[in-house]
Symmetry: C2
Subunit: 204 residues, 2 copies
């Protein structure tokens, strides 16, 4: 990439100026970082490599991110911002529609899905700077989905014998696992269809 | 580890001698390699680091494995040997029992599960030396499981409306995804129970 400072949006004149420029550069570095981490993993990707990909000097990068750990946390936060996380605003949609719709949207961001797959596996290791993020994220997602399945059961929409907590872990596992298969075989794997089929089985 | 040449099994006198010693050293290097790859990922783990972990010189390691790619393939083959792969001998067990039993057995090998999770995600990248292995492995597993679900359907044991190919992709995805959650929360996630619950839903 030759352009490392995206032009300010002309529709947002208030975002011009040094602050906007710095924010745009920061975001550009985060985007390059997730490309590098996605292709090489967190441990193998270096700050020097990310600076080069972003077209900035190492010291300029370090002005924005004092450590690789800080950059990783920004990359993970960016993923949540782009979707894949469970948010209160999304909860206005019925649960199953939200899940399938989000899986549809993920088709547009294979690189981010790949990065997330690498990091979520790599971060299992004790001492990995992303570990706490994933422990909290899985706990939070399971809790949120368990609450949804429990509410559906109270409304008579959960198949008899289905355990809400087990169904919550299953949806998350199936989602991540089937997206990984899709990255290898995008023409043969339909992740939203797999999620829809599971939800159709457990919801009545 | 200080011992890098396991003592020959006294019950197998024919395996003594230089060939047995070389085979034992080779296997020991593979075991150290998967520990290193599991904790640091394939790209970040170096041959030098693996040689140090195995207590052998770099040139001795290179006598057994001329490249890091060759070592990766040996590590993946070792995983298949230790279980997790679908084999003809396993097919004597009913399908659902085989799946759940294998998931039970995987509880004893969290490090290998973690390595496989890292590599299967990392290898999505074009040009990764493990990519072909995973493309073939997912294709082969899906084909084998699809055949099982199809046979179960012919015997009247598949719930109406369940697609054998989608169920095959789902079992694989759920399995890998829920084992990843288990690595983060071994006291809260029961991978065999999640697989059993899904199979109970689709099989009649």
């Amino acid at each position: 990439m030759s352009e490392h400072d995206p032009a300010p949006d002309p529709a947002s004149p208030r975002r011009r100026g040094p602050y906007a420029k710095s924010a745009a550069r920061r975001q550009h570095i985060v985007e390059q970082a997730y490309t590098v981490f996605a292709s090489r993993g967190y441990h193998a990707g270096s700050l020097r490599e990310i600076a080069a990909a972003a077209g900035v000097s190492l010291s300029s990068l370090q002005h924005h991110f004092s450590s690789k750990e800080e950059l990783l946390v920004a990359v993970l936060a960016r993923r949540d911002e782009l979707g894949g996380g469970w948010s209160d605003s999304a909860a206005r949609l019925p649960f199953a529609e939200h899940i399938v719709g989000q899986a549809e949207a993920n088709r547009r961001i294979p690189g981010l899905i790949a990065l997330y797959a690498v990091l979520s596996a790599e971060a299992v290791t004790a001492g990995h700077p992303g570990r706490d993020y994933f422990v909290d994220r899985y706990d939070g997602l399971r809790d949120a989905y368990t609450a949804e399945f429990t509410a559906l059961r109270e409304d008579g929409h959960l198949r008899d014998g289905v355990d809400p907590a087990l169904a919550a872990a299953t949806v998350i596992a199936l989602w991540e696992g089937v997206e990984l298969q899709w990255l290898y075989a995008p023409d043969r794997i339909d992740a939203p269809a797999a999620l829809r089929a599971y939800l159709d089985l457990v919801l009545t």
